[in-house]
Symmetry: C3
């Protein structure tokens, strides 16, 4: 596999500049061989790319785009922590929270966009474990929040 | 303590065949000394054994059965990863999400069925830390989702 | 920085006696260099200091107090596990679940009280990654549930 950043270019994607953490916490840190991010929202610059609940204000495809953007933000933070995304030996865990209207049960479909992106970028070592839950409310009315745990 | 699989037999339980992961992720992986599962639903074969929200369509006892089934599915995946459940030195973490109707606050009661099963199977080393939260929606209208972290 | 317990005194705070776990699980355990707590509720003794949903029965300031109390309970458990809070080399992860009424999106504001407390107590090594989600229901109608992962 070509390097992760080459693969991003092939997919016409680029890492954003790592968004600043809001609050008394950090966006990413390393403990042992694990690098862990805070929950990422689909920020583009200082604005959320999408707002609202899946199954109500937000359709599946927008939710999937939001999941991709949040995942790229997580990867940007991980790069800022470890320097080179090629040092990731395994994507360990994706924590996916989907802001869901009553009766919306397609959280897996929304989060598949994030999971597929990780496999596109990292190949077999991009295959991760996943938690997929629907929650009633997320910070700033974000449709998704995504945390990543990777092994380096 | 007898072996974990003997204990399963004594409890008239058996490990299911490990259900296939749906999507671009894996049901289980190992990082360092930790083995981590994806969030498990109460599948029996290809069907959810239960659907609906606790406090509305689903009663406590059904929720507890769902929690046990999801936990057995998690253990089946862990066995497929490490080969022998006796290699587990500590159950580290149970992540328990309970699909809850408005006003349902007995998430602990539902998840106790999963926690009790782990202690029945693993004794003292089955005593884990736990997150117990009620969420508005889960994938496929599942009443529970359970993730396990174990140390080997 | 003075020792963590001196710092608690300066802030006019004290660690509670570690609340007993309810159920078939433990409030804290150590695996490798990580010490992990179960989800903590804002218990003072045997009673929850607050009940209800943010954005409905509970105001921001009460939610922040609840978050601080739950965090102190988590630290009390960690102390009971490792003996000395000064042995913490890094607060790794705060898992924050906020019981939220429909339309409440200030989970970050509520949890900032917990995050700020950790930085007040541990300085730079208190800066953690964070998951902040709003959930529809928590055990016992608690307004917040907080889990901590620390490195020792």
């Amino acid at each position: 596999m070509s390097s992760v950043e080459d693969r991003l270019k092939e997919l016409n994607l680029e890492l954003p500049s790592a968004p600043a953490a809001v609050g008394f916490y950090v966006p990413v840190l390393k403990t042992g061989n694990l690098v862990i991010t805070s929950g990422q929202l689909p920020f583009i610059g200082k604005e959320l790319a999408f707002k609202g609940k899946l199954g109500k204000e937000i359709h599946d495809r927008e939710g999937q785009n939001a999941a991709r953007i949040a995942t790229l933000n997580a990867l940007a933070h991980i790069k800022s922590c470890i320097g080179d995304l090629n040092d990731i030996t395994q994507v360990v865990r994706l924590e996916g929270y989907v802001q869901s209207a009553d009766g919306f049960n397609d959280q897996a479909l929304v989060l598949n966009a994030a999971s597929e992106l990780l496999v596109d970028l990292f190949g077999e070592s991009g295959k991760h474990t996943r938690i997929a839950v629907g929650v009633s409310e997320l910070p700033l009315d974000s449709p998704v929040e995504i945390g990543l745990w990777v092994e380096v």
